[in-house]
Amino acid sequence: MQRTAVLFAALAALALSLPATAQKAVTLNVVTAGDQNMVDYLKDYLGPMFEKEHPGVTVKAVGTGPGDAGSQKIYEKLEAEKANPAWDIDVAVIHQKAAGEMVGKGLLARYSAEIPTGKLVTSEAAKNALGSDVGGYVMPMFNSQTAIAYNTAMVSDPPATYDALEKWVRVNPKKFGYNGIKGGMSGVSFVVGWIYAHSPDTDRLIKGPYDPDTKKSWVPILAELAAFNKNVVLTPGNAGTLDMLNRGEIAMGPVWVDMFYTWQSDGKIPPGVKLKLIGPGMPGQPMYYVVPTKAANAKLAEDFIALATSPKVQADGIVKRFNWYPGIDTAAVKPQLDEASWSKLFVDVTPEDLATKGKPFPLAPYFNDILESYERKVQ
């Protein structure tokens, strides 16, 4: 009997002490879409740095998975808890497609003017996400770009354009590989680049206005892609393309630049594999830091993003350690870096290449049309 009483007393004491400790310590919930490297970045690099500057705050980083699927999960979670007084995501990192939809649904707070680094972002990608106006609601975490990786041991003179690639593949069947459209964004990006290369009015796809009939003009373009596909290897996923390059099974394939450099520095891609951004251009995209409208710790969330988009963190974390292109203006980041680290990022793909051949993804409705037309005509 006495033992039970002691047990109850202990439980009661525990129950009473819990809320007290919870009030003192704040947990900042950071939820990110994207590959494991995104979670690593937040958990191992940015989180500890922020905790050091803000005693009593714990940063909890959670990943929701790669690609638009990961952003979709964040979108659906916020949508589901819309009626709650406070939402349990303080900072989210999402892709462009979800950002446009979430701004439209009123799920995101307009915060970038409130933070000191807001004025360091002047890029078009910070205002326009696949045709949606997201200005003020987002801060780019980084920019990433797709390019063609090629093995110099197998290809000495890589094709510089989509047309040249088409000819090369005809002469070298099954030596080029990409991951279709269902296995990750590097394949999607290659297909979008194909449409850009062959479409008479690329600008309209990117800037609008949207015309549902445009997709009819892609029929011959996609027929050529179907013929092209007969001579290529379809790889299982973004990582699948890199794996096949590593094993020498393919000589060329589209990859994300950051993923490529990270794999190469980990020794998972031979040093003889290089990058080329082919003309007329391939898409790239940023990922955005956003704050949900009813984030429980909105002020802290803004502080977190201000740190994440400061020139120092953009230089050390984004460029140097994770091989992404900076999210804020490069002019602000460059002075923070030594020449070697800066130029490492631009050896294969030069700033001029990026300026002329780095394209955004198309407007969301055109984007969907491209994917669905591919499903209908190419597969």
Binding site: N179, K182, P236
Partner: protein
């Protein structure tokens, strides 16, 4: 008399209370989402009832539906054959060491998740993967002339590797429980191992094997990780298409229409399973 009735009433209430938690779980976690998904499959974006989702699902993914059915059926047949072989050897094997080794080895894949199995197969079955390189190192083949198995064949290999132990576990248990007199009688009359397996053992465990295969069939039908990680090409399995509809277009209608097709396939298997359970009154 009255007391008896009240006891009966108490008893019924008791049974209801006992069943309630399980029933609530089934209703909340299975029946409700299933109903929602069915409704969504027949609802257009504007909320009106429609068959559009099905039209689109069949137009875009008709080939994938057939492909899914073929892949899962072929895998199920192969699992059946392998299971019979494994179970048969465990019962009839003459070499005790070989039987012991097989007994301890065959269950291992059971404890490995599909996603891990798929990741292993990616490096094992690739063109310059472990399998081809080992064969080449043994001087059996020339890697240059080989192709990788990272396509529909890889999906089947992974499914069979992963699901065989589960069915084999059920079947070998049933085989071990058989009356050995029938086997010994056949052996005494001069029947060989294969003949004993096919004519004496398998007919007696056919029911258990069927149930095991039905469960394997339904499990394989629902796997997303294996087709998405092994095969980049098309056609692909409809789980990949469902994920793609949701993730790329936020289109739950067509995804649920494909889900409906998947239920239909699983439902057919469930019908076989239930018919057998009812006929034999056994939970298996």
């Amino acid at each position: 008399m009255r007391a008896e009735r009240s006891n009966l009433g108490d008893c019924r209430l008791g049974i209801l209370l006992l069943v309630a938690p399980a029933l609530a779980m089934v209703l909340a976690l299975f029946v409700y989402p299933l109903g929602m998904s069915l409704v969504s499959a027949f609802t257009a974006k504007d909320g009106k009832p429609t068959l559009e989702n099905f039209a689109k699902a069949f137009a875009l993914y008709g080939l994938d539906i057939v492909f899914t059915l073929v892949i899962v059926t072929v895998s199920t047949v192969l699992i059946g054959l392998l299971t019979a072989a494994i179970g048969g050897y465990l019962v009839l094997g003459a070499h005790p060491v070989a039987v012991a080794v097989l007994k301890s080895l065959y269950r291992w894949p059971l404890f490995i998740p599909f996603i891990v199995a798929a990741q292993c197969m990616r490096t094992f079955l690739a063109k310059n993967g472990i399998m081809n390189n080992t064969l080449a190192a043994l001087g059996l083949v020339d890697v240059g002339s080989l192709s990788g198995l990272l396509d529909w064949r890889g999906i089947i290999v992974t499914f069979v590797w992963k699901e065989t132990p589960f069915v084999a576990l059920l079947v070998s248990g049933a085989m071990a429980a058989l009356d050995r007199a029938t086997i010994e009688a056949a052996a005494n009359l001069g029947a060989g191992g294969l003949r004993i397996l096919v004519e004496i053992i398998l007919p007696q465990v056919a029911g258990v094997m069927l149930v095991g295969l039905v469960l394997a069939f339904v499990t394989m039908l629902s796997v997303l990780s294996v087709p998405i990680m092994i095969s980049g090409g098309s056609p692909t399995m409809i789980t990949v298409d469902m994920a793609f509809r949701v993730n790329s277009y936020s289109d739950y209608g067509v995804a649920n229409a494909l889900g409906f097709v998947s239920y239909a396939m699983a439902g057919l298997a469930a019908w076989v399973y239930l018919r057998r359970s009812v006929a034999h009154g056994s939970p298996l």
